[in-house]
Structures are given as structure tokens and as C-alpha cells.
């Protein structure tokens, strides 16, 4: 009998049903696997393929401790503790645990938060340390969760606060080095794309896995020496306490390299508690952000210009009548009585404005501050000493200040007659300190910097040297300026320790009121000086004190602070006295 199904038999019917079912399966599978392939792959990827951001660690900030880098700003992992009130089963136990472990970091209204059963996420404690979080995790309390975040830690508290800056809630650097070098410190987040299991464990299966490691931010080493910084802040605070001044700033520089060793500003703040600051001015590093009329300390720049151009010598004389006429204005001395034929050294010693105007006139035709004289002064102040322009110091918010050019409206003889003794121009302390450093180091201008290098695998990799402008004044001019400022300082009781070569110049500058007129009842006291041996200048220090409605003078209020720091620096730098 032939093996064929008899038409209409039950077996044949069963065969037809089976084949039909098979056809349905095949068609459905074809639809799912071929026609709708992309959709289902996409759905599967959504479910299984996870894109995880690998956060880059923010770079740390180091300062120097002598020759050793020490950490000033670090990262610490802390936890935000939250509850899911809907799944909490033991609310009392959770409250007890959080209170006993997290302490002051726990929220006050824990019971109220946990009992909100319509909520799924309530923060119950913040900034919990890893150890505290582990203690809580051990209790295995249902509904309690932990979210790790990174926060900045400042072991030195408020030391160099305005130079460091802080990191805000959006993890962005603000002010100081944190703000200026935010991109370098931030680094670049990595990416991990992978198939994961239900516990989010990445698996190597899958064709679309990406593992791009994070690039951590650079760890920056500052030129700031924490010991010098600490003492400078202390000396400044003591000085303000003595004088009752409310504001003060100080900078200590290495004149041979342009490296800034300390920058202090008062009032200050704690970077870790930046949210508690009520006056945002406390965030600014006044040394670089606040331009002002520097007053008589500026006479050192005018004397240097005169010496370098050869129009004066320290013992050059002029007739001082305590006043001098420039166009239709009369310039007078603040210190009266040193009249008659006196030297430029005398003019510097007693801070006589007439002496500086005389130098400006000699740069012209001898009687007028001509355009040529003004051009020369501008060339020295602006082009050579970098006044009135950004220095490029790596601190956020640097101000350029302003030195009016002779080609601008207002750049006339009267303007320049006031500029030569420190009025009518705005400069920052860092500009003045950097320019003065060039005057006392033999004539090389170094751009001021706070960056000493980066930490690379635990060792310091020095930063490339910033370009310097050598020979902006002659060595002879530099030597004479050092001698003149040394004499100017030693003429009055200085408090210097014997055997060292210290020089400097006082400055007392009036401030402007809202209408642009000078106030006589509010002055800023400044002192600018250097220290070291007769052969080499080791440090430059500039101090400024001010206060609302206060008459503060360079000689009385700022100079003692300079002396305090200077004497300490001699010990710290282990400088040996002569003789």
C-alpha cells in the first residue's frame, strides 16, 4: 500500500493543523526576528545596556612646606543618607541609628520625614563619612539608602583661602586657583557602556561595550609656602588688631623667580563653609583683584625711571619749595619743611612729591612734563614694569587696573604729575610687587605666578618657567635703587635685625568718594620693601591696610607689619647676617 494520507482522513487533518501551526510560528518568528528586529534589539538594549559615567576625580591642590609639597585641598567621599518611606518597616530603629551614628549631620525632623508614606525619597543625613555609612549599612535597615558624593577638604582651614577659592554645589571651582584652573582641576569623566545584570554589574558579553577610563584632574602644586603664608596671615592679623584697621592685604614674592610665596587678605573665610559668608568681598583675593592708587610707594618707580634714563642720580639736587607748578595746577608736598636745595635721595627719604615732579620734568625739557617725558614714563610703568595690565597670575578675578597713556584723553602733564607720586592711576598689589621685584633683582621682570608644578605619580613635576623680560633696567640702576630704598628705610627706626640688607618705601594714599573727589579722612597705608643680603634680594613684601573712615599711614600702620614678616623671613630662609 502506498504511504500517502488518505484525503479527508483524521491523520491528514492533524497533519494540516500541525503544518498550519508551524507556519504561524515561522511567520511570527520571521516578523519578530527579521522585520521588527531593530525595535526589539533597541528594547533589549534599553533594558540590559547601561551607560555609566565614571566620574573623574578633581585634582588636589598642594602648597610647599619648604621644599616638600603638602596637601592643602583634598577630596573626601561622603554619603548622603536617604530613606524610601514607602518601604520602611522599622522607622524607630532607623531614627535611632541615624541619630546615634550621624550625630549633627542628621536632619532634625527625622520622624516627620520617615512617616511621609506618599514620598519615595527623603534625605535624612548629609556629609556622613564612610565609616559612619558602613556602621549604618551593617544594620541592614530596609528603606535606608546611601548616595556617595565627593567633597573638598581643607586641612589647613582658612589658610590661603582667597588664593585657593572653593568648589560650589555644582562642583565648579569658584574664585582663587579653583576658579582660574577649574578645567585643569576637573579632568574628564570616563564612560562605561556595558550589558549589566539585575544588580548593575557590567558583563563583558555584548558587542557595544565601551570602556573609556576617566582622566582625573591635574593635582596642582602652588608656589605658596604654607609656613610663610601662615606667618604672613598672623602678622597681618596682629597688625590689624594693633591699628584697628578692618581690611588688610599682604604679598610675599621671590624676586628672583616671580614666584609668590604668600598672599594674605583679611577679613577671610573658611572655604569649607563658604555658604556661611555674608559679604562676598571676602572671597576676593584683594592682592590681585582690587586696584587702588598705591600712593608714595610708587615713587620708587619714578626714581627708577629717572635713574635708568640718566636724568638723575641719587645725589642730584633740586630746589624744594614744598610746591611745584604744573600747567595751571600746583602740586604740594604732604611732608613740609625740607625746603632748600636737597637731593633726590632726600626727596625719597621724606617722600616729597616735588622731587618726583622734578624727575618727570627732567625727563622732558627740564621745566615741563612734555609729551616725550610722558611717553617715557608710560613706557617704564606700563611696558617695562607691567603696571595697568593683567599679569597673568593664576588666580581668578585678576584686575588690570589702569595707567592712562599719554595718547589718551586725560593723559596730560597734570595727570602725569600726580601719577609720578602714585595718584591718578590704579594698580594692583601683585603688579606693584612684580615690578618692584624687577627693580631690586638686577632688572629682570618675571611674571608673577602661584603655580609651582603638578604632582605626577607622587613627585613634583615643575611648571615650565614663564617667559621673563631681562634687562628692562640696568644692573647699575637696580643697585642704586636698592641703596636708595635701603637708606630711606634706615633713616627712621626700622626694627630690622642687624646684619641684613633691608629696604623699602612707605605709602599713604587718599581714597576717592562717590563723586570722584579725594577724601582726606580716609587713607590707605602701604609699605613696599625687600630683604636679603647686600648681594642678593631674597624676598619682596608689600603690605596694605585700610578701613572705613580711617586715616591709616604707611609708616605707622603698614611698616610694622612688613618688619614683622621680614624679620621672620630672615630666620625661615636661614639667611646669615653679615658681620
Amino acid at each position: 500500500m502506498p504511504r500517502s494520507l488518505i484525503s479527508g482522513s483524521r491523520t491528514r487533518l492533524l497533519a494540516i493543523i500541525c503544518v498550519s501551526i508551524m507556519v504561524v510560528f515561522v511567520v511570527r518568528l520571521f516578523y519578530l526576528q527579521v522585520i521588527d528586529h531593530n525595535r526589539y534589539v533597541s528594547l533589549a538594549n534599553q533594558e540590559q545596556l547601561k551607560r555609566l559615567v565614571i566620574p573623574a576625580a578633581r585634582g588636589e591642590i598642594y602648597a610647599m612646606d619648604g621644599t616638600t609639597p603638602v596637601k592643602m585641598v583634598l577630596n573626601e567621599t561622603v554619603y548622603t543618607v536617604f530613606v524610601d518611606p514607602k518601604v520602611v518597616t522599622k522607622p524607630n530603629e532607623i531614627i535611632e541609628t541615624i541619630k546615634s551614628v550621624a550625630g549633627g549631620n542628621a536632619r532634625d525632623n527625622l520622624k516627620e520625614l520617615i512617616n511621609q508614606k506618599d514620598k519615595r525619597y527623603e534625605i535624612v543625613a548629609t556629609k556622613v563619612t564612610r565609616k559612619q555609612a558602613e556602621l549604618m549599612k551593617k544594620k541592614k535597615l530596609k528603606g535606608l539608602g546611601f548616595q556617595a558624593t565627593s567633597q573638598r577638604v581643607y586641612p589647613e582651614a582658612q589658610l590661603a583661602a582667597q588664593t585657593l577659592g572653593f568648589v560650589n554645589a555644582e562642583s565648579k571651582g569658584q574664585y582663587g586657583v579653583e576658579g582660574y584652573l577649574n578645567d585643569r582641576l576637573t579632568g574628564k569623566d570616563g564612560l562605561l557602556q556595558s550589558v549589566t545584570d539585575v544588580s548593575n554589574v557590567p558583563l563583558t558579553i555584548g558587542r557595544h561595550n565601551i570602556n573609556q577610563p576617566a582622566k582625573n584632574g591635574d593635582s596642582i602644586v602652588l608656589t605658596i609656602d604654607r609656613n610663610i603664608q601662615s606667618y604672613t596671615e598672623k602678622a597681618l592679623a596682629d597688625g590689624l588688631a594693633r591699628t584697628h584697621a578692618t581690611n588688610g592685604s599682604a604679598i610675599v614674592m621671590d624676586p628672583q623667580t616671580g614666584r609668590i610665596l604668600a598672599m594674605a587678605n583679611l577679613p577671610t573665610y573658611q572655604p569649607a563653609e563658604f555658604t556661611k559668608v555674608t559679604d562676598a568681598e571676602a572671597f576676593n583675593n584683594g592682592v590681585v583683584t582690587r586696584p587702588y592708587e598705591a600712593g608714595s610707594v610708587f615713587k620708587t618707580f619714578t626714581v627708577t625711571t629717572g635713574l635708568d634714563t640718566g636724568v638723575i642720580q641719587p645725589n642730584s639736587t633740586y630746589v624744594n619749595t614744598d610746591s611745584i607748578k604744573v600747567d595751571d595746577r600746583t602740586i604740594v608736598n604732604a611732608a613740609r619743611g625740607h625746603t632748600g636745595t636737597i637731593t633726590i635721595q632726600d626727596a625719597l627719604n621724606y617722600s616729597l612729591n616735588t622731587g618726583m615732579v622734578t624727575i618727570a620734568q627732567r625727563l622732558g625739557d627740564g621745566t615741563q612734563i612734555t609729551k616725550g617725558a610722558r611717553d617715557t614714563i608710560y613706557r617704564y610703568y606700563h611696558d617695562k614694569f607691567g603696571l595697568g595690565e593683567l599679569t597673568g597670575v593664576e588666580v581668578s578675578g585678576e584686575s588690570a587696573g589702569r595707567v592712562i597713556s599719554p595718547d589718551e584723553d586725560g593723559g596730560n602733564a597734570v595727570q602725569y604729575a600726580t601719577m609720578v607720586f602714585g595718584q591718578g592711576l590704579d594698580v594692583t598689589m601683585v603688579q606693584v610687587a612684580a615690578g618692584f621685584s624687577a627693580m631690586v633683582n638686577g632688572g629682570t621682570y618675571y611674571s608673577p605666578t602661584v603655580i609651582g608644578g603638578v604632582m605626577d605619580n607622587g613627585s613634583l613635576k615643575p611648571a615650565p618657567v614663564k617667559p621673563a623680560r631681562a634687562g628692562i633696567i640696568t644692573k647699575d640702576t637696580s643697585t642704586k635703587l636698592r641703596q636708595m630704598t635701603h637708606e630711606a628705610r634706615q633713616l627712621f627706626p626700622s626694627g630690622d635685625r642687624p646684619g641684613y640688607y633691608i629696604g623699602g618705601k612707605t605709602g599713604t594714599s587718599q581714597t576717592l568718594d562717590a563723586s570722584g573727589n579725594y577724601r582726606f579722612d580716609q587713607t590707605i597705608g602701604t609699605y613696599l620693601g625687600y630683604g636679603g643680603s647686600e648681594d642678593t634680594t631674597k624676598y619682596v613684601i608689600m603690605v596694605q591696610v585700610s578701613g572705613k573712615d580711617m586715616n591709616l599711614e604707611g609708616n605707622i600702620h603698614a611698616k610694622p607689619i612688613f618688619t614683622d614678616i621680614s624679620n621672620w623671613m630672615l630666620d625661615y630662609m636661614k639667611l646669615q647676617p653679615k658681620g
Binding site: V70, K71, L74, E76, T129, P155, V201, L203, I205
Partner: protein, 129 residues
């Protein structure tokens, strides 16, 4: 000394002659010295057995595949455990560094018992070279 029955270089051929109880000669082309022996097995396998064997082979192959795939995933879990351990140790290291920085901070050192008991030198002499 015994003589070999045939002079063959191939050892297997010798053995096959010795083990062959019966043989059938293929009809058709054959040449001299050519092995034309086919063996008939005493065990006969039916279609069901064949099907079961094929199914078993497929199952074994499937199990081998699954074992390999699971092994790869197992390594992932191992790697994850190691990564977690590294992260934990790294976190502990960071905590210790923070603690170290706090303990060696100037303010801490200044307020230490040792520092408090220090006195300033009454005079300083310098070594002359």
C-alpha cells in the same frame, strides 16, 4: 627466526588482516595489494536510537556552550569583586590621607603638646665657613 607471512611496511594493514574474521570482496574495480575489506558491526542501531543520540549530542554541545558563556560571566563577577575591593581600599587610602593631612596641619601641630612646650632660643650663633 620466524618469517612474517607478508612483507608489508604498513603496520595497520598487518593488524587488520590478523583481526578480520570474515570479509566480503567488493565487486568492481580493485587492484592488487589494495584493502577492499568492509566491516559489518554486530550492533544494529534503529532510527529512535539515532534520534536520541543526535538529541544527546546537541544537548551536550549546548551544555558546553552554556558552560563557556557562564564561565565568561563568572569572570565578570570576579572582576567586579576585585574592582569593588580596589575602590574600597582606594577609599580607605583617601580617608587616611585626609586624616594624615589634618594631623599634620599647621594649626594641629601648633596646638600640640610638644609645640606648646617649645621655647624660643635666647640667642643664635651662625657657623662661619
Amino acid at each position: 627466526m620466524r618469517q612474517a607471512p607478508y612483507k608489508h611496511e604498513n603496520k595497520h594493514e598487518i593488524m587488520s588482516y590478523q583481526r578480520t574474521p570474515t570479509y566480503t570482496r567488493h565487486q568492481g574495480n580493485w587492484n592488487r595489494n589494495q584493502n577492499t575489506v568492509a566491516f559489518a558491526s554486530a550492533v544494529k542501531l534503529g532510527p529512535v536510537t539515532h534520534t536520541v543520540l543526535v538529541a544527546l549530542m546537541i544537548t551536550v554541545l549546548g551544555l558546553i556552550y552554556l558552560t563557556q558563556a557562564t564561565r565568561a560571566t563568572g569572570y565578570d563577577y570576579e572582576a567586579q569583586k576585585i574592582d569593588s575591593k580596589i575602590a574600597e581600599l582606594s577609599s580607605q587610602k583617601t580617608d587616611l590621607e585626609v586624616e594624615n593631612a589634618r594631623l599634620t596641619a599647621l594649626e594641629t601641630v601648633r596646638n600640640s603638646t610638644v609645640a606648646r612646650e617649645m621655647t624660643s632660643p635666647s640667642s643664635t650663633d651662625y657657623v662661619r665657613e
